[in-house]
């Protein structure tokens, strides 16, 4: 069988001039040495695989009956993402960020979970936001249908099906503090996949950015991703603007 060989070079080799033919460099163990051009996510943007949904000036009201948000409910996600790809593409969630626009009166903490399921969990309601490709040279559309709950809009609140084989892939407490746990200016963010979250307070009384990270989350064609936030003891619904990013491959 034909075999390919590289030249082992642990120390820095002598540089050649542009356009010179040169053998591929490998480590002393055969690892191919490489230089990465640009960060990983920008490479995805370059090939047209990266999408975002960002609000701009108009936020969402999570639920008109805030007491519905006092406990986790499988049928009341904040966001629901449906992968409708007919070409086998998978959705890789990258991050999301929520910017609080109003105080969630009497809430005592901010709880979060992400669930994925190998089925369409969408039943009714919600605002549909059209994802944008972050590469202005690429017109290709996302395979994801993105819903956000917004009781202040005609779409209203998302109702998801109960689910039969859900997989919980994130569980977090953003904040625990004397009411209200959500105030104007708070920012709640989750970094997915590569991550290096930093320590910080969980109980500030002034506006604060709360960040966390988690391992990768991947959703196949025909499958769903649901983001849940709930707030024990809340009586006034949170309101947010948001930014969310993902890629499809």
């Amino acid at each position: 069988m034909p075999q390919i060989y590289g030249k082992a070079a642990r120390s820095l080799p002598t540089a050649v001039a542009d356009s010179t033919q040169i053998q591929q460099r490998v480590t002393s163990y055969g690892d191919v040495t490489t230089v990465q051009m640009g960060d990983n996510h920008s490479s995805l943007a370059d090939e047209g695989s990266y999408y975002k949904v960002c609000t701009l000036g108009t936020g969402i009201t999570q639920h008109g009956t805030a007491t519905s948000l006092q406990a986790y409910s499988a049928t009341l996600p904040l966001f629901l993402m449906k992968n409708t790809s007919a070409t086998g593409k998978r959705l890789f969630l990258d991050y999301f960020r929520l910017i609080s626009l109003a105080s969630a009166t009497t809430s005592s903490s901010v709880q979060c979970a992400i669930v994925i399921e190998d089925a369409d969990r969408y039943s009714s309601g919600g605002n549909v936001y059209a994802p944008v490709n972050v590469n202005s040279s690429v017109a290709s559309s996302s395979a994801v249908t993105f819903y956000a709950s917004n009781s202040a809009s005609s779409g209203g609140v998302i109702t998801a099906t109960a689910g039969s084989s859900p997989r919980q892939v994130l569980r977090h407490t953003f904040k625990t503090v004397a009411a209200p746990a959500v105030i104007v200016g708070d920012i709640f963010g989750v970094d997915v996949g590569e991550h290096s979250s930093q320590s910080g307070t969980l109980s500030a009384t002034a506006p604060t950015a709360y960040a966390t990270s988690t391992g990768p989350i991947c959703v196949g064609p025909g499958h769903s991703l649901l983001v849940y936030l709930w707030y024990p003891a809340v009586t006034v619904s949170p309101q947010y603007e948001f930014e969310i990013g993902w890629w499809e491959r």
């Binding site: 943007a45 590469n135 202005s136 979250s197 604060t208």
Partner: protein, 277 residues
């Protein structure tokens, strides 16, 4: 057809080759190529001459040790709400169709000027930010703004940028006669970043000279940080976002606004980094 083979090795091979020896590329048990990355991703693009930065000139009295208070910065007009025609800065990709794409890396803004050189009223309740890209050419002959020539970060590279950056207003401290103004957003505009830097009860605290506002694009590390004004103390406010790619002939617009504010003037220094490929 010829097939390419490597040597599958899950554990570290027991024998290390000497430099110059011929070695088969290493694969894992699934056939994936084992790689060893040299240097960070951004330094690699700088090495090939593809990384650029733009910053406003550092001004000081000749022969005098520069003091921060002597840097006036560029004056930007800020309002109480988002307005698609009045960005803080605009970056246009002047490459011909099919040419290079600009990948935005980071933006850093530094509040400049001596005390009293901004006209931000005390009513503002925070600093909001958004980034948009548009397939339309949003700049015109009357766009205004200070033209800032990008610098190649590699001193050995003569390559010049396809980016055309215009920042802030042209004029004196209180002048808004040539405010940076672009054409209105069309249906082709895409919002690709949204952030709230800071909430505070008083803008006089929100615009303390030396305060910095920074966004990293692409890879990022989310931080848990205070988002409230710290009274009169300067702070570094950071945000992160996913990647942004600006194609040839397209426009990137960076917006900031101050809710509850009446229109005011803010002096800014800045540093913006990107690469082009």
């Amino acid at each position: 057809m010829p097939l390419v083979y490597g040597k599958a090795t899950r554990s570290l091979p027991t024998s290390a080759a000497l430099d110059e020896e011929q070695v088969q590329p290493r694969l894992n048990l699934y056939g994936d190529t084992s790689v060893s990355i040299r240097g960070d991703a951004h330094s690699a693009v700088a090495d090939e001459g593809s990384y650029y930065k733009a910053a406003n000139p550092y001004k000081s009295s000749v022969g005098t040790a520069p003091a921060f208070t002597q840097i006036p910065g560029y004056y930007t007009t800020v309002g109480a709400a988002y307005n698609s025609t009045t960005p803080t800065f605009v970056l246009y990709n002047s490459a011909s169709s099919g040419g290079k794409t600009i990948f935005l890396d980071y933006v850093r803004l530094i509040v400049a000027g001596a005390t009293g050189q901004n006209s931000i009223a005390s009513a503002a309740t925070g600093r909001q930010c958004a980034v948009a890209i548009d397939t339309s050419t949003r700049i015109t002959s009357t766009t205004g703004g200070n033209v800032c020539v990008p610098s190649n970060s590699n001193m050995s590279s003569p390559s010049t940028s396809v980016g055309v950056l215009r920042f802030g207003n042209v004029g004196t401290v209180s002048s808004t006669a040539t405010a940076l103004t672009v054409t209105a957003a069309t249906g082709t505009q895409r919002t690709v970043a949204r952030h709230s830097f800071q909430l505070g009860a008083s803008a006089s605290a929100a615009d303390a000279r030396g305060e910095q506002f920074s966004i990293d694009f692409g890879e990022r590390s989310i931080s848990s940080i205070p988002n409230a004004s710290a009274g009169g103390a300067q702070q570094l406010w950071v945000g992160t976002s996913g990647p942004v790619a600006l194609g040839a002939g397209h426009t990137l617009l960076f917006y900031m606004w101050y809710p509850s504010l009446t229109t005011g003037i803010m002096p800014m220094n800045f540093e913006i980094g990107w690469w082009e490929r």
